[in-house]
Protein backbone atom coordinates (compact mmCIF):
# COMPACT_ATOMS: atom_id res chain seq x y z
CA UNK A 1 0.00 0.00 0.00
CA UNK A 2 1.49 3.34 -0.97
CA UNK A 3 1.58 6.29 1.36
CA UNK A 4 -0.79 8.91 0.00
CA UNK A 5 -1.57 12.47 0.93
CA UNK A 6 1.72 14.13 1.78
CA UNK A 7 3.11 14.80 -1.66
CA UNK A 8 4.38 18.20 -2.82
CA UNK A 9 2.11 20.82 -4.35
CA UNK A 10 1.62 20.21 -8.06
CA UNK A 11 3.21 22.63 -10.49
CA UNK A 12 -0.14 23.47 -12.02
CA UNK A 13 -1.59 24.50 -8.70
CA UNK A 14 1.40 26.64 -8.03
CA UNK A 15 1.00 28.43 -11.36
CA UNK A 16 -2.66 29.11 -10.75
CA UNK A 17 -1.87 30.41 -7.26
CA UNK A 18 0.72 32.79 -8.61
CA UNK A 19 -1.55 33.96 -11.39
CA UNK A 20 -4.33 34.77 -8.94
CA UNK A 21 -1.96 36.60 -6.67
CA UNK A 22 -0.66 38.61 -9.58
CA UNK A 23 -4.18 39.52 -10.66
CA UNK A 24 -5.16 40.69 -7.20
CA UNK A 25 -2.01 42.70 -6.85
CA UNK A 26 -2.59 44.34 -10.21
CA UNK A 27 -6.13 45.23 -9.26
CA UNK A 28 -5.01 46.75 -6.00
CA UNK A 29 -2.34 48.81 -7.69
CA UNK A 30 -4.79 50.09 -10.28
CA UNK A 31 -7.20 51.09 -7.57
CA UNK A 32 -4.49 52.84 -5.65
CA UNK A 33 -3.17 54.86 -8.57
CA UNK A 34 -5.84 57.60 -8.57
CA UNK A 35 -5.57 57.89 -4.81
CA UNK A 36 -1.83 58.27 -4.94
CA UNK A 37 -2.10 60.76 -7.76
CA UNK A 38 -4.61 62.86 -5.85
CA UNK A 39 -2.45 62.96 -2.79
CA UNK A 40 0.61 63.69 -4.86
CA UNK A 41 -1.03 66.58 -6.64
CA UNK A 42 -2.48 67.95 -3.46
CA UNK A 43 0.87 67.93 -1.80
CA UNK A 44 2.66 69.21 -4.83
CA UNK A 45 0.38 72.16 -5.43
CA UNK A 46 -0.94 72.81 -2.00
CA UNK A 47 1.98 72.43 0.35
CA UNK A 48 3.68 75.46 -1.04
CA UNK A 49 0.69 77.57 -0.07
CA UNK A 50 0.97 76.74 3.56
CA UNK A 51 2.52 79.85 5.00
CA UNK A 52 1.85 81.77 8.14
CA UNK A 53 -0.26 84.38 6.45
CA UNK A 54 -2.19 81.64 4.67
CA UNK A 55 -3.70 80.65 7.95
CA UNK A 56 -3.83 83.99 9.66
CA UNK A 57 -5.46 86.25 7.13
CA UNK A 58 -8.85 86.33 5.49
CA UNK A 59 -9.40 86.32 1.77
CA UNK A 60 -9.47 89.88 0.55
CA UNK A 61 -11.77 89.37 -2.37
CA UNK A 62 -10.04 92.01 -4.35
CA UNK A 63 -9.21 91.38 -7.95
CA UNK A 64 -5.79 92.87 -7.70
CA UNK A 65 -3.21 92.74 -5.05
CA UNK A 66 -2.74 90.10 -2.38
CA UNK A 67 -5.37 87.43 -2.40
CA UNK A 68 -5.13 86.88 1.35
CA UNK A 69 -5.34 83.61 3.25
CA UNK A 70 -8.15 81.28 4.14
CA UNK A 71 -8.58 81.95 7.82
CA UNK A 72 -12.23 82.80 7.63
CA UNK A 73 -12.90 79.70 5.58
CA UNK A 74 -11.31 77.42 8.15
CA UNK A 75 -13.13 78.97 11.05
CA UNK A 76 -16.32 79.17 9.09
CA UNK A 77 -16.20 75.47 8.30
CA UNK A 78 -15.53 74.63 11.89
CA UNK A 79 -18.38 76.78 13.11
CA UNK A 80 -20.91 75.58 10.59
CA UNK A 81 -20.07 71.93 11.04
CA UNK A 82 -19.89 72.47 14.77
CA UNK A 83 -23.46 73.67 14.92
CA UNK A 84 -24.47 70.88 12.57
CA UNK A 85 -22.92 68.39 15.00
CA UNK A 86 -24.79 69.85 17.91
CA UNK A 87 -28.02 69.36 16.01
CA UNK A 88 -27.39 66.03 14.34
CA UNK A 89 -25.63 64.00 17.00
CA UNK A 90 -28.11 64.18 19.86
CA UNK A 91 -31.06 63.71 17.54
CA UNK A 92 -29.29 60.91 15.69
CA UNK A 93 -28.37 59.03 18.83
CA UNK A 94 -31.87 59.57 20.11
CA UNK A 95 -33.38 58.02 17.03
CA UNK A 96 -30.94 55.11 17.24
CA UNK A 97 -31.86 54.58 20.88
CA UNK A 98 -35.51 54.49 19.97
CA UNK A 99 -34.83 51.94 17.28
CA UNK A 100 -32.81 49.63 19.49
CA UNK A 101 -34.60 49.94 22.81
CA UNK A 102 -38.22 50.26 21.88
CA UNK A 103 -38.64 49.77 18.18
CA UNK A 104 -36.82 46.59 17.39
CA UNK A 105 -39.79 44.69 16.08
CA UNK A 106 -42.49 47.32 15.67
CA UNK A 107 -43.77 48.37 12.27
CA UNK A 108 -43.06 51.97 13.09
CA UNK A 109 -39.46 51.19 13.96
CA UNK A 110 -39.03 49.38 10.69
CA UNK A 111 -40.53 52.33 8.85
CA UNK A 112 -38.13 54.75 10.48
CA UNK A 113 -35.24 52.49 9.68
CA UNK A 114 -36.28 52.37 6.07
CA UNK A 115 -36.48 56.12 5.78
CA UNK A 116 -33.10 56.56 7.41
CA UNK A 117 -31.62 54.16 4.89
CA UNK A 118 -33.20 56.14 2.07
CA UNK A 119 -31.82 59.37 3.46
CA UNK A 120 -28.26 58.08 3.36
CA UNK A 121 -28.61 57.78 -0.36
CA UNK A 122 -30.01 61.25 -1.00
CA UNK A 123 -27.54 63.48 -2.91
CA UNK A 124 -26.22 66.26 -0.72
CA UNK A 125 -27.46 68.92 -3.07
CA UNK A 126 -31.02 67.93 -2.21
CA UNK A 127 -30.48 68.94 1.38
CA UNK A 128 -29.12 72.26 0.23
CA UNK A 129 -32.06 72.82 -2.06
CA UNK A 130 -34.54 71.81 0.60
CA UNK A 131 -33.17 74.30 3.11
CA UNK A 132 -32.89 76.89 0.38
CA UNK A 133 -36.54 76.63 -0.50
CA UNK A 134 -37.87 76.32 2.99
CA UNK A 135 -35.63 78.66 4.94
CA UNK A 136 -33.77 80.94 2.57
CA UNK A 137 -36.52 81.82 0.16
CA UNK A 138 -38.92 81.97 2.97
CA UNK A 139 -36.66 84.53 4.58
CA UNK A 140 -36.79 82.76 7.90
CA UNK A 141 -34.43 84.69 10.14
CA UNK A 142 -32.46 86.34 7.35
CA UNK A 143 -31.46 85.28 3.86
CA UNK A 144 -28.21 83.39 3.49
CA UNK A 145 -26.89 82.55 6.91
CA UNK A 146 -24.40 80.22 8.51
CA UNK A 147 -26.91 78.44 10.68
CA UNK A 148 -29.01 77.41 7.72
CA UNK A 149 -25.94 75.71 6.33
CA UNK A 150 -25.60 73.96 9.65
CA UNK A 151 -29.16 72.71 9.39
CA UNK A 152 -28.54 71.41 5.90
CA UNK A 153 -25.39 69.64 7.00
CA UNK A 154 -27.18 68.28 10.05
CA UNK A 155 -29.78 66.70 7.80
CA UNK A 156 -26.98 65.17 5.83
CA UNK A 157 -25.10 63.87 8.88
CA UNK A 158 -28.21 62.62 10.65
CA UNK A 159 -28.72 59.33 8.83
CA UNK A 160 -25.03 58.51 9.12
CA UNK A 161 -25.14 59.07 12.85
CA UNK A 162 -28.34 57.05 13.21
CA UNK A 163 -27.00 54.12 11.22
CA UNK A 164 -23.66 53.88 12.97
CA UNK A 165 -25.16 54.51 16.40
CA UNK A 166 -27.73 51.80 15.87
CA UNK A 167 -25.03 49.29 14.97
CA UNK A 168 -23.03 50.20 18.04
CA UNK A 169 -26.03 50.11 20.35
CA UNK A 170 -27.02 46.70 19.04
CA UNK A 171 -23.54 45.48 19.89
CA UNK A 172 -24.12 46.20 23.55
CA UNK A 173 -24.84 42.69 24.88
CA UNK A 174 -28.44 42.26 25.89
CA UNK A 175 -27.14 40.48 28.98
CA UNK A 176 -26.09 43.88 30.32
CA UNK A 177 -29.55 45.31 29.79
CA UNK A 178 -31.01 42.22 31.44
CA UNK A 179 -28.72 42.53 34.42
CA UNK A 180 -29.69 46.16 34.93
CA UNK A 181 -33.39 45.47 34.51
CA UNK A 182 -33.20 42.53 36.90
CA UNK A 183 -31.76 44.82 39.55
CA UNK A 184 -34.95 46.82 39.39
CA UNK A 185 -33.81 49.72 37.25
CA UNK A 186 -36.36 51.62 35.22
CA UNK A 187 -35.78 51.44 31.48
CA UNK A 188 -34.51 54.96 31.02
CA UNK A 189 -31.87 54.47 33.68
CA UNK A 190 -30.78 51.29 32.00
CA UNK A 191 -30.22 53.32 28.86
CA UNK A 192 -28.42 56.27 30.41
CA UNK A 193 -26.35 54.46 33.00
CA UNK A 194 -25.52 51.21 31.27
CA UNK A 195 -26.20 51.16 27.53
CA UNK A 196 -24.87 54.59 26.59
CA UNK A 197 -21.67 54.43 28.65
CA UNK A 198 -20.89 51.01 27.23
CA UNK A 199 -21.56 52.13 23.67
CA UNK A 200 -19.87 55.49 24.09
CA UNK A 201 -16.61 54.85 22.27
CA UNK A 202 -18.47 53.45 19.29
CA UNK A 203 -20.90 56.34 19.30
CA UNK A 204 -18.05 58.83 19.33
CA UNK A 205 -16.41 57.09 16.43
CA UNK A 206 -19.60 57.09 14.41
CA UNK A 207 -20.22 60.74 15.11
CA UNK A 208 -16.71 61.74 14.14
CA UNK A 209 -17.07 59.94 10.86
CA UNK A 210 -20.27 61.82 10.19
CA UNK A 211 -18.44 65.05 10.98
CA UNK A 212 -15.67 64.18 8.59
CA UNK A 213 -18.26 63.71 5.89
CA UNK A 214 -19.97 66.97 6.69
CA UNK A 215 -16.77 68.96 6.53
CA UNK A 216 -16.26 68.13 2.91
CA UNK A 217 -19.72 68.80 1.47
CA UNK A 218 -20.02 71.75 -0.87
CA UNK A 219 -23.47 71.64 -2.40
CA UNK A 220 -25.52 72.33 0.72
CA UNK A 221 -23.34 75.31 1.48
CA UNK A 222 -23.90 76.84 -1.92
CA UNK A 223 -27.57 77.42 -1.37
CA UNK A 224 -27.57 78.31 2.23
CA UNK A 225 -24.62 80.44 3.06
CA UNK A 226 -23.20 82.14 0.05
CA UNK A 227 -19.71 82.57 1.36
CA UNK A 228 -18.75 85.85 2.91
CA UNK A 229 -15.13 86.70 3.14
CA UNK A 230 -14.64 88.20 6.55
CA UNK A 231 -14.02 86.14 9.60
CA UNK A 232 -17.15 86.10 11.66
CA UNK A 233 -18.47 84.30 14.64
CA UNK A 234 -22.03 85.20 13.84
CA UNK A 235 -23.86 82.22 12.51
CA UNK A 236 -26.78 84.47 11.83
CA UNK A 237 -24.89 86.12 9.03
CA UNK A 238 -23.27 84.88 5.90
CA UNK A 239 -20.22 82.82 6.54
CA UNK A 240 -17.27 81.43 4.66
CA UNK A 241 -16.41 77.77 4.46
CA UNK A 242 -13.54 75.76 3.01
CA UNK A 243 -15.46 73.96 0.26
CA UNK A 244 -17.03 77.25 -0.84
CA UNK A 245 -13.69 78.94 -0.86
CA UNK A 246 -12.17 76.20 -2.97
CA UNK A 247 -15.10 76.27 -5.38
CA UNK A 248 -14.87 79.99 -5.93
CA UNK A 249 -11.10 80.10 -6.17
CA UNK A 250 -10.79 77.30 -8.68
CA UNK A 251 -13.19 79.05 -11.05
CA UNK A 252 -11.26 82.27 -10.90
CA UNK A 253 -8.87 83.25 -13.74
CA UNK A 254 -6.19 84.41 -11.32
CA UNK A 255 -3.55 81.76 -10.82
CA UNK A 256 -2.84 83.06 -7.34
CA UNK A 257 -6.39 82.23 -6.40
CA UNK A 258 -6.20 78.85 -8.07
CA UNK A 259 -3.10 78.06 -6.11
CA UNK A 260 -4.84 79.15 -2.97
CA UNK A 261 -7.56 76.70 -3.82
CA UNK A 262 -5.03 73.90 -3.78
CA UNK A 263 -3.77 75.02 -0.43
CA UNK A 264 -7.30 75.11 0.88
CA UNK A 265 -8.02 71.66 -0.53
CA UNK A 266 -4.97 70.28 1.20
CA UNK A 267 -6.11 71.93 4.43
CA UNK A 268 -9.53 70.38 4.09
CA UNK A 269 -8.07 66.94 3.49
CA UNK A 270 -5.78 67.40 6.48
CA UNK A 271 -8.67 68.31 8.73
CA UNK A 272 -10.71 65.33 7.59
CA UNK A 273 -7.68 63.11 8.06
CA UNK A 274 -7.20 64.33 11.61
CA UNK A 275 -10.85 63.70 12.43
CA UNK A 276 -10.61 60.19 11.02
CA UNK A 277 -7.47 59.43 13.03
CA UNK A 278 -9.21 60.70 16.13
CA UNK A 279 -12.14 58.40 15.42
CA UNK A 280 -9.83 55.43 15.03
CA UNK A 281 -7.94 56.23 18.21
CA UNK A 282 -11.14 56.45 20.20
CA UNK A 283 -12.48 53.19 18.86
CA UNK A 284 -9.23 51.40 19.51
CA UNK A 285 -9.26 52.49 23.10
CA UNK A 286 -12.77 51.27 23.61
CA UNK A 287 -13.28 48.03 25.40
CA UNK A 288 -16.56 46.26 25.26
CA UNK A 289 -17.11 43.22 27.42
Amino acid sequence: MSVTGLGPVSARRRRIDQAMRGLLLAGTVIALIPLVLIIYYLLLKGLGQWTGSFFSSDPTGSFFGSPGGIRSAIFGSLEIVGLGMVIAIPIGIGVALYLTEYGRESWFGNLVRYFVDVMTGVPSIMFGLFIYIVLVLGHVGGAFTGWKASVALALLMLPIVVRSAEVVLLLVPSSLREAALALGAPRWRVVTRVVLPTALPGLVTGSLLAVARGMGETAPLLFTTAGALALTGNLGAQMNALPLQIYNDILSPRTALQNRAWGAALTLVAIVLIVNILARAVSRRSRMA
Binding site: E105, S175, A180, A182, L183, V194, P197, T198, A289
Partner: protein, 289 residues
Protein backbone atom coordinates in the same frame (compact mmCIF):
# COMPACT_ATOMS: atom_id res chain seq x y z
CA UNK B 1 -25.31 31.68 66.32
CA UNK B 2 -23.39 34.05 64.06
CA UNK B 3 -20.32 32.23 62.78
CA UNK B 4 -17.02 34.04 63.22
CA UNK B 5 -15.44 35.45 60.10
CA UNK B 6 -12.90 33.02 58.78
CA UNK B 7 -10.04 34.11 56.62
CA UNK B 8 -7.80 31.39 55.32
CA UNK B 9 -4.52 32.48 53.83
CA UNK B 10 -3.77 30.30 50.87
CA UNK B 11 -0.67 30.34 48.73
CA UNK B 12 -1.08 32.32 45.53
CA UNK B 13 -2.66 29.97 43.03
CA UNK B 14 -2.98 30.09 39.27
CA UNK B 15 -6.22 31.76 38.39
CA UNK B 16 -8.67 29.76 36.38
CA UNK B 17 -10.04 32.58 34.26
CA UNK B 18 -8.42 35.67 32.84
CA UNK B 19 -7.77 37.41 36.12
CA UNK B 20 -4.70 37.93 38.27
CA UNK B 21 -3.81 35.37 40.95
CA UNK B 22 -6.15 35.22 43.93
CA UNK B 23 -4.86 36.31 47.28
CA UNK B 24 -6.08 35.85 50.78
CA UNK B 25 -9.26 34.02 49.90
CA UNK B 26 -12.00 34.30 52.45
CA UNK B 27 -14.89 31.98 53.04
CA UNK B 28 -18.27 33.56 52.39
CA UNK B 29 -19.42 35.41 55.45
CA UNK B 30 -23.09 36.12 55.09
CA UNK B 31 -23.24 37.19 58.71
CA UNK B 32 -21.39 40.33 57.63
CA UNK B 33 -24.70 41.57 56.27
CA UNK B 34 -25.97 41.97 59.77
CA UNK B 35 -28.85 40.42 61.63
CA UNK B 36 -31.72 39.29 59.50
CA UNK B 37 -34.99 40.92 60.36
CA UNK B 38 -38.18 39.02 60.54
CA UNK B 39 -39.17 35.65 59.14
CA UNK B 40 -38.14 34.50 55.71
CA UNK B 41 -40.03 35.14 52.48
CA UNK B 42 -41.84 32.52 50.47
CA UNK B 43 -43.18 32.47 46.96
CA UNK B 44 -46.34 30.79 45.79
CA UNK B 45 -47.04 30.21 42.12
CA UNK B 46 -50.64 29.52 41.19
CA UNK B 47 -51.97 28.55 37.79
CA UNK B 48 -49.11 30.11 35.86
CA UNK B 49 -49.31 30.17 32.08
CA UNK B 50 -46.65 31.77 29.91
CA UNK B 51 -46.51 32.39 26.20
CA UNK B 52 -44.01 33.39 23.56
CA UNK B 53 -46.39 34.86 21.04
CA UNK B 54 -48.72 31.98 20.32
CA UNK B 55 -46.42 29.31 21.72
CA UNK B 56 -47.72 28.01 25.03
CA UNK B 57 -44.57 27.46 27.04
CA UNK B 58 -45.82 27.11 30.62
CA UNK B 59 -49.04 25.17 30.92
CA UNK B 60 -50.54 25.74 34.31
CA UNK B 61 -48.06 25.46 37.15
CA UNK B 62 -48.69 25.46 40.90
CA UNK B 63 -45.61 25.60 43.07
CA UNK B 64 -44.49 26.71 46.49
CA UNK B 65 -41.01 27.96 47.27
CA UNK B 66 -40.63 27.84 51.05
CA UNK B 67 -38.75 30.57 52.90
CA UNK B 68 -35.01 30.23 53.44
CA UNK B 69 -34.71 27.08 51.42
CA UNK B 70 -32.99 26.26 48.18
CA UNK B 71 -35.30 24.84 45.54
CA UNK B 72 -33.78 23.46 42.37
CA UNK B 73 -35.61 23.20 39.06
CA UNK B 74 -34.38 20.43 36.77
CA UNK B 75 -35.59 19.13 33.47
CA UNK B 76 -34.52 18.61 29.87
CA UNK B 77 -33.82 21.53 27.52
CA UNK B 78 -36.92 23.37 26.50
CA UNK B 79 -39.03 22.17 29.39
CA UNK B 80 -39.67 25.74 30.49
CA UNK B 81 -37.62 25.98 33.65
CA UNK B 82 -35.90 29.24 32.72
CA UNK B 83 -39.18 30.66 31.45
CA UNK B 84 -40.94 29.84 34.69
CA UNK B 85 -38.25 31.39 36.81
CA UNK B 86 -38.23 34.53 34.71
CA UNK B 87 -41.93 34.89 35.28
CA UNK B 88 -41.27 35.15 39.00
CA UNK B 89 -39.38 38.42 38.71
CA UNK B 90 -41.37 39.51 35.67
CA UNK B 91 -38.39 39.44 33.33
CA UNK B 92 -40.30 37.20 30.98
CA UNK B 93 -42.41 40.08 29.73
CA UNK B 94 -39.31 42.00 28.61
CA UNK B 95 -39.09 39.69 25.63
CA UNK B 96 -41.09 41.13 22.72
CA UNK B 97 -44.29 39.20 22.27
CA UNK B 98 -44.02 37.32 25.56
CA UNK B 99 -46.67 37.37 28.24
CA UNK B 100 -47.62 35.56 31.41
CA UNK B 101 -50.88 34.91 33.24
CA UNK B 102 -51.62 33.62 36.67
CA UNK B 103 -50.61 34.67 40.12
CA UNK B 104 -47.26 34.69 41.82
CA UNK B 105 -47.30 35.90 45.38
CA UNK B 106 -44.36 37.04 47.39
CA UNK B 107 -45.50 36.82 50.98
CA UNK B 108 -49.17 37.18 50.05
CA UNK B 109 -48.63 40.05 47.60
CA UNK B 110 -49.34 39.14 43.99
CA UNK B 111 -46.58 40.48 41.78
CA UNK B 112 -48.89 40.31 38.79
CA UNK B 113 -51.62 42.41 40.38
CA UNK B 114 -52.59 45.47 38.41
CA UNK B 115 -50.79 48.59 39.46
CA UNK B 116 -47.76 46.79 40.83
CA UNK B 117 -44.51 48.57 39.98
CA UNK B 118 -42.42 46.04 38.15
CA UNK B 119 -39.13 47.64 39.18
CA UNK B 120 -39.92 47.18 42.84
CA UNK B 121 -40.74 43.53 42.18
CA UNK B 122 -37.31 43.11 40.69
CA UNK B 123 -35.65 44.85 43.56
CA UNK B 124 -37.18 42.37 45.95
CA UNK B 125 -36.59 39.36 43.73
CA UNK B 126 -33.05 39.42 42.45
CA UNK B 127 -31.58 37.40 39.63
CA UNK B 128 -28.20 35.92 38.79
CA UNK B 129 -27.63 34.86 35.21
CA UNK B 130 -25.85 32.04 33.47
CA UNK B 131 -23.05 34.08 32.01
CA UNK B 132 -21.49 36.45 34.52
CA UNK B 133 -22.38 39.97 33.34
CA UNK B 134 -20.61 42.67 35.36
CA UNK B 135 -20.96 46.12 33.81
CA UNK B 136 -17.85 46.62 31.70
CA UNK B 137 -17.52 50.36 32.15
CA UNK B 138 -17.69 50.16 35.94
CA UNK B 139 -15.12 49.32 38.59
CA UNK B 140 -15.59 46.52 41.08
CA UNK B 141 -16.95 48.95 43.63
CA UNK B 142 -19.26 50.60 41.14
CA UNK B 143 -20.55 47.25 39.99
CA UNK B 144 -21.66 46.27 43.44
CA UNK B 145 -23.10 49.74 44.01
CA UNK B 146 -24.81 49.69 40.63
CA UNK B 147 -27.98 48.14 41.92
CA UNK B 148 -28.37 50.84 44.51
CA UNK B 149 -27.59 53.61 42.08
CA UNK B 150 -29.74 52.30 39.26
CA UNK B 151 -32.77 51.99 41.47
CA UNK B 152 -32.25 55.51 42.71
CA UNK B 153 -31.81 54.38 46.28
CA UNK B 154 -30.35 57.19 48.27
CA UNK B 155 -27.87 55.62 50.58
CA UNK B 156 -25.67 57.31 53.16
CA UNK B 157 -23.68 54.24 53.88
CA UNK B 158 -23.09 53.12 50.32
CA UNK B 159 -19.49 52.20 50.94
CA UNK B 160 -20.43 50.13 53.92
CA UNK B 161 -23.10 48.27 52.03
CA UNK B 162 -20.73 47.51 49.17
CA UNK B 163 -18.08 46.23 51.53
CA UNK B 164 -20.57 44.07 53.37
CA UNK B 165 -21.84 42.54 50.14
CA UNK B 166 -18.32 41.72 49.02
CA UNK B 167 -17.61 40.13 52.39
CA UNK B 168 -20.78 38.12 52.24
CA UNK B 169 -19.82 36.48 48.96
CA UNK B 170 -16.28 35.82 50.08
CA UNK B 171 -14.68 38.19 47.56
CA UNK B 172 -13.54 40.81 50.01
CA UNK B 173 -10.10 39.39 50.63
CA UNK B 174 -9.45 39.02 46.94
CA UNK B 175 -10.52 42.47 45.80
CA UNK B 176 -10.21 44.84 48.72
CA UNK B 177 -7.02 46.31 47.38
CA UNK B 178 -8.37 46.89 43.91
CA UNK B 179 -11.90 48.11 44.24
CA UNK B 180 -11.38 50.73 41.57
CA UNK B 181 -10.24 48.30 38.92
CA UNK B 182 -12.65 47.27 36.22
CA UNK B 183 -15.07 44.53 37.12
CA UNK B 184 -14.35 42.56 34.00
CA UNK B 185 -10.74 42.09 35.00
CA UNK B 186 -11.70 39.31 37.40
CA UNK B 187 -11.77 35.60 36.63
CA UNK B 188 -15.02 33.93 35.63
CA UNK B 189 -15.80 32.59 39.07
CA UNK B 190 -14.97 35.89 40.69
CA UNK B 191 -17.14 37.75 38.20
CA UNK B 192 -20.08 35.56 39.03
CA UNK B 193 -19.59 36.15 42.73
CA UNK B 194 -19.35 39.84 41.95
CA UNK B 195 -22.71 39.64 40.22
CA UNK B 196 -24.11 37.89 43.27
CA UNK B 197 -22.72 40.65 45.48
CA UNK B 198 -24.35 43.18 43.18
CA UNK B 199 -27.65 41.39 43.53
CA UNK B 200 -27.60 41.16 47.30
CA UNK B 201 -26.48 44.77 47.73
CA UNK B 202 -30.03 45.92 47.05
CA UNK B 203 -31.21 43.62 49.84
CA UNK B 204 -33.69 41.42 47.99
CA UNK B 205 -35.86 38.87 49.71
CA UNK B 206 -35.56 36.14 47.12
CA UNK B 207 -32.70 35.28 44.79
CA UNK B 208 -33.33 33.53 41.48
CA UNK B 209 -30.41 31.83 39.79
CA UNK B 210 -30.57 30.74 36.17
CA UNK B 211 -27.84 28.12 35.70
CA UNK B 212 -25.32 30.24 37.60
CA UNK B 213 -22.44 27.78 37.30
CA UNK B 214 -22.79 26.68 33.69
CA UNK B 215 -20.04 28.97 32.50
CA UNK B 216 -17.68 28.28 35.40
CA UNK B 217 -14.92 25.76 35.95
CA UNK B 218 -15.39 23.09 38.65
CA UNK B 219 -13.50 24.91 41.39
CA UNK B 220 -15.42 28.14 40.85
CA UNK B 221 -18.63 26.11 40.72
CA UNK B 222 -18.00 24.61 44.12
CA UNK B 223 -17.28 28.04 45.58
CA UNK B 224 -20.57 29.36 44.29
CA UNK B 225 -22.39 26.32 45.65
CA UNK B 226 -20.81 26.86 49.02
CA UNK B 227 -21.98 30.45 48.84
CA UNK B 228 -25.52 29.38 48.03
CA UNK B 229 -25.53 27.19 51.09
CA UNK B 230 -24.56 30.19 53.21
CA UNK B 231 -26.97 32.55 51.51
CA UNK B 232 -30.04 30.49 52.24
CA UNK B 233 -29.79 31.54 55.88
CA UNK B 234 -30.95 34.87 54.71
CA UNK B 235 -32.70 34.53 51.39
CA UNK B 236 -35.05 32.18 49.66
CA UNK B 237 -33.25 30.75 46.68
CA UNK B 238 -34.51 29.22 43.47
CA UNK B 239 -31.89 27.72 41.19
CA UNK B 240 -32.39 26.42 37.69
CA UNK B 241 -29.79 23.88 36.73
CA UNK B 242 -29.23 21.31 34.04
CA UNK B 243 -26.63 19.64 36.21
CA UNK B 244 -28.43 17.09 38.32
CA UNK B 245 -25.49 16.49 40.56
CA UNK B 246 -25.54 20.17 41.42
CA UNK B 247 -29.23 20.02 42.28
CA UNK B 248 -28.50 16.98 44.42
CA UNK B 249 -25.70 18.78 46.26
CA UNK B 250 -27.27 22.14 46.76
CA UNK B 251 -31.05 21.96 46.97
CA UNK B 252 -33.40 21.15 49.81
CA UNK B 253 -36.27 20.59 47.41
CA UNK B 254 -36.14 19.59 43.78
CA UNK B 255 -38.75 20.23 41.10
CA UNK B 256 -38.73 18.22 37.89
CA UNK B 257 -40.35 19.87 34.88
CA UNK B 258 -41.25 18.52 31.49
CA UNK B 259 -42.96 20.29 28.59
CA UNK B 260 -44.05 23.29 30.61
CA UNK B 261 -45.48 21.33 33.52
CA UNK B 262 -44.33 20.22 36.94
CA UNK B 263 -44.00 16.45 37.07
CA UNK B 264 -42.60 15.98 40.53
CA UNK B 265 -41.87 18.25 43.46
CA UNK B 266 -40.28 16.60 46.47
CA UNK B 267 -37.39 16.75 48.94
CA UNK B 268 -34.15 16.32 47.02
CA UNK B 269 -33.28 13.13 48.83
CA UNK B 270 -36.49 11.51 47.68
CA UNK B 271 -36.16 12.67 44.10
CA UNK B 272 -32.73 11.09 43.84
CA UNK B 273 -33.27 7.88 45.79
CA UNK B 274 -36.92 7.03 45.15
CA UNK B 275 -38.75 9.33 42.74
CA UNK B 276 -42.46 8.75 42.55
CA UNK B 277 -43.03 9.42 38.87
CA UNK B 278 -41.68 7.12 36.18
CA UNK B 279 -40.62 10.11 34.07
CA UNK B 280 -38.60 11.57 36.92
CA UNK B 281 -36.90 8.22 37.40
CA UNK B 282 -36.03 8.03 33.74
CA UNK B 283 -34.70 11.56 33.63
CA UNK B 284 -32.49 11.40 36.70
CA UNK B 285 -31.06 8.04 35.76
CA UNK B 286 -30.17 9.42 32.36
CA UNK B 287 -32.50 7.37 30.26
CA UNK B 288 -33.49 10.51 28.38
CA UNK B 289 -32.91 14.23 28.32
Amino acid sequence: MIPPETTSKEPIEMSTGGGPPEQAEAAPDVAALGVREGPGHSIKVRNLHAYYGSQHAIKGIDLDFPANQVTAIIGPSGCGKSTMVRCINRMHEEIPGARAEGSITLDEVDVYATGVDVTSVRRLIGMVFQKPNPFPTMSIFDNVAAGLRLTGTRSDNLRERVHKSLRAVGLWGEVKSRLTEPGIGLSGGQQQRLCIARTIAVEPEVILMDEPCSALDPVATLKVEELIDELKERYTIVIVTHNMQQAARVADTTVFMLDGQVIEHAPTNDVFTRPKDERTERYVTGKFG
